[in-house]
C-alpha cells in the first residue's frame, strides 16, 4: 500500500516534469539567422528585442511571475496593482458571505420541504425552473435592483450556492430512516429536539454533500462574476492582466484559482468525513 503511494507520487512528478519540458521546448525562441541588422534594429525599436516576448510565455517566465507575486502578496498600489492575497481575500469574502446567506436560507427551507410532502410538491416546479438558470444570467437584474457591484457579486454566489444545498437538505431530511423517527416518537421527543438530535445528524452527510457541490460551483462562478463587475478579486485580476497582455500573470492566477478551489474542496471533504456514519 505504502509502496503504491510512492509509485503514484513518482509518476505524478515525472508527468509534471515531462509537461514542463514539452512546454519549454515548444516556446523556445526560433533561430532567425535570416534577419538583417536593420530588421533587428527595427524590432528593438518596437520593443520586441532579442528576448522575443511576443509568443506564448515559456515556463521560466511563469516561474518568475510566481516568485514576483508571491514575494509581495499584500501590496496595494491602487486598483490595478494589488497583491494576489488581497485579490483572493476579496473573492473569498464574496464567496463566504454569499455561501453563508445561502446556508441560512437553504437549511430551514430544505428542512421544511423534506418534512412536508405537500410543501415539496408545491415548491418543486419553482425549484426545477430556477435551478438550471446560469447564475450569471441574474447579474443584470441584480445590478439594476441592488445598484452595487459588490453586493451583486455576492447575490450571484448566493443564488448559485442555494440550489444544491436546498435540494440535498430536502432529500436528506425526507429520507431519514423511519425507524429512527419511530424511536423519537415512542420517546416523546419534542419537535425541536428531534430536528436537532435525530434528523440533522441523520441527514448531515447528504446536506454536506450539497454544500460541497455548492462551494465548487460558487468558486467557478466567482471568477466569471468578478470579470463582469470588475474592481477587485481574482476574476478581475485575470481580466485586467489579459487587457495588459501579461499572460504569465494570467497563468499564475489560473494556478492560484485551481489551488484555492482544491483547498476549499478538501475542507468540505474533511467536514463530510466528520459527520458521516456507518450503519
Amino acid at each position: 500500500m505504502k509502496n503504491e503511494h510512492w509509485k503514484s507520487l513518482l509518476l505524478s512528478v515525472v508527468l509534471f516534469a515531462l509537461f514542463i519540458a514539452v512546454w519549454f521546448v515548444a516556446t523556445l525562441p526560433k533561430e532567425s539567422g535570416l534577419q538583417s541588422a536593420e530588421q533587428d534594429e527595427y524590432a528593438a525599436l518596437m520593443g520586441k528585442g532579442a528576448a522575443k516576448s511576443g509568443g506564448f510565455p515559456p515556463p521560466q517566465e511563469i516561474g518568475k511571475a510566481i516568485v514576483t507575486h508571491l514575494s509581495d502578496p499584500f501590496k496595494d498600489n491602487g486598483p490595478n496593482d494589488k497583491g494576489m492575497a488581497i485579490q483572493l481575500g476579496h473573492s473569498l469574502g464574496r464567496v463566504g458571505v454569499g455561501f453563508a446567506l445561502a446556508i441560512l436560507v437553504a437549511l430551514p427551507i430544505g428542512f421544511a420541504i423534506g418534512m412536508s410532502p405537500l410543501l415539496h410538491r408545491a415548491l418543486d416546479p419553482f425549484i426545477q425552473v430556477l435551478k438550471p438558470i446560469s447564475p450569471l444570467a441574474w447579474m443584470p437584474l441584480a445590478l439594476y435592483t441592488i445598484k452595487d457591484s459588490d453586493l451583486s457579486g455576492i447575490f450571484v454566489i448566493f443564488i448559485c450556492s442555494l440550489w444544491p444545498m436546498l435540494i440535498n437538505t430536502a432529500f436528506g431530511v425526507a429520507n431519514v430512516r423511519k425507524d429512527w423517527l419511530n424511536v423519537a416518537r415512542t420517546l416523546e421527543v419534542r419537535p425541536l429536539r428531534k430536528a436537532l438530535t435525530v434528523i440533522l445528524p441523520a441527514a448531515a452527510p447528504t446536506i454536506l454533500t450539497g454544500m460541497r457541490i455548492s462551494m465548487g460551483i460558487a468558486w467557478l462562478v466567482i471568477v466569471a462574476a468578478e470579470m463582469l463587475v470588475g474592481g477587485t478579486g481574482v476574476g478581475y485580476f485575470v481580466w485586467n492582466e489579459w487587457n495588459n497582455l501579461a499572460l504569465p500573470n494570467v497563468i499564475f492566477a489560473i494556478l492560484v484559482i485551481g489551488v484555492v478551489g482544491m483547498i476549499l474542496d478538501r475542507c468540505f471533504a474533511g467536514l463530510q468525513k466528520l459527520v458521516s456514519y456507518t450503519e
Binding site: 419511530n182 424511536v183 416518537r185 415512542t186 420517546l187 421527543v189 438530535t197 441523520a202 456514519y277 456507518t278
Partner: protein, 282 residues
C-alpha cells in the same frame, strides 16, 4: 384486573374490502409475558404498532392501565425488529438519549449512571463508547433492549427482536431477557416466529389465524413452570405437547380455524394432564 385490554381491534387499509384482522380481543395482566405467533401478513406487527401508538387501528379499543392508548408514549418501551440504533451515537449515547427523554430534569451524572446500569445488565459494560457499527447483530439488539428497559416502561413491546440473529446468540440473549424480565417483573408483549422461543419465554401464547380477516384463534397457556430454562425444558413431556400443539396450529389449523361464536378466543392448556418432570406450574 387486567393491565392491558384489547377490545374488538380491527385494521383495514383503504382499497381492500377485507380487513387484515378483526375482532381481536385479549388482555394482559401486570407482570405477564405474552407472545403472539402467526404467519406473515396476519397483522402481528400492526397490533404491536397500535399498542406502541405508532399506528392507529381502524376500530376497537386499547386500554392500558385504565387509560385509552392514544399515540406513542414513554410508558411503553419498544424494541424494534431492526434494532433502530442511531449510528452516529455511541452505545451509551443511544441509551442516554432515551433516559434523557424520560427524565429531562435529571443531571448528566444521573442519566449516565442509569444508561450504564442497563447496558451492564445486558452484558455490554465493556462496549459503552463503541459505535453501533462496530458491534455484532446480537450486541446491537442488546443495546436496543437496554434502551427500552432503561426508561422503566410500564410495558415492553418487542417486535421479533431476535429474528435476524443466529441460533447461539439468540439463545444467550433469550436467557438474558428472561433474567431481566423476571428481576424487574416487566409486563411484555412480544412477536415471534420461533415456537421454542415462545414456549421458553411466555406465560401465554396468542395464536393468530392467517389474514385477511385474521383473528386470535386460540390462547395457549404454557403449563411449564416459570423456572424453566433452555437446558431442561425439552426433557419435560409437557414441552412436546405444547410444541406439537403450536406447530399443528401453524401448519394446518391456522388457515381455517374453528369458528368461535363468542368474541373471546378459547384458552387451551396442552400438557395439563401430563405428569411433568419439572415441578408443576403454580
Amino acid at each position: 384486573m387486567s393491565f392491558l385490554i384489547v377490545e374488538n381491534l380491527a385494521k383495514s387499509y383503504p382499497g381492500n374490502d377485507a380487513p387484515v384482522f378483526e375482532n381481536v380481543n385479549f388482555s394482559i395482566v401486570k407482570g405477564e409475558f405474552v407472545c403472539i405467533i402467526g404467519h406473515s401478513g396476519c397483522g402481528k406487527t400492526t397490533i404491536l404498532n397500535a399498542l406502541a401508538g405508532l399506528e392507529t387501528a381502524t376500530s376497537g379499543n386499547l386500554i392500558m392501565d385504565g387509560r385509552e392508548v392514544v399515540g406513542p408514549g414513554l410508558d411503553r418501551g419498544v424494541v424494534f425488529q431492526g434494532h433502530a440504533l442511531m449510528p452516529w451515537m455511541s452505545v451509551i449515547e443511544n441509551v442516554k438519549f432515551a433516559v434523557r427523554s424520560r427524565w429531562p430534569d435529571w443531571s448528566k451524572q444521573e442519566i449516565e449512571a442509569q444508561a450504564a446500569k442497563y447496558l451492564e445488565m445486558v452484558g455490554l459494560g465493556q462496549a459503552l463508547y463503541k459505535k453501533p457499527s462496530m458491534l455484532s447483530g446480537g450486541m446491537k439488539q442488546r443495546v436496543g433492549i437496554a434502551r427500552a428497559f432503561a426508561i422503566q416502561p410500564k410495558m415492553l413491546l418487542l417486535d421479533e427482536p431476535f429474528g435476524a440473529l443466529d441460533a447461539l446468540t439468540r439463545g444467550t440473549i433469550q436467557d438474558e431477557l428472561l433474567n431481566i424480565v423476571q428481576a424487574t417483573a416487566q409486563t411484555v408483549f412480544m412477536i415471534t416466529h420461533d415456537v421454542d422461543e415462545a414456549i421458553l419465554l411466555s406465560d401465554r401464547i396468542l395464536l393468530m389465524s392467517n389474514g385477511p380477516r385474521a383473528r386470535i384463534a386460540e390462547i395457549v397457556e404454557v403449563t411449564l413452570p416459570r423456572s424453566r430454562t433452555r437446558h431442561d425444558m425439552h426433557h419435560d413431556p409437557r414441552y412436546y405437547r405444547i410444541r406439537n400443539h403450536l406447530v399443528d396450529f401453524l401448519v394446518s389449523r391456522s388457515k381455517d380455524p374453528k369458528p368461535v361464536d363468542e368474541l373471546q378466543p378459547p384458552v387451551v392448556r396442552p400438557g395439563e394432564d401430563e405428569p411433568g418432570t419439572l415441578p408443576f406450574a403454580a
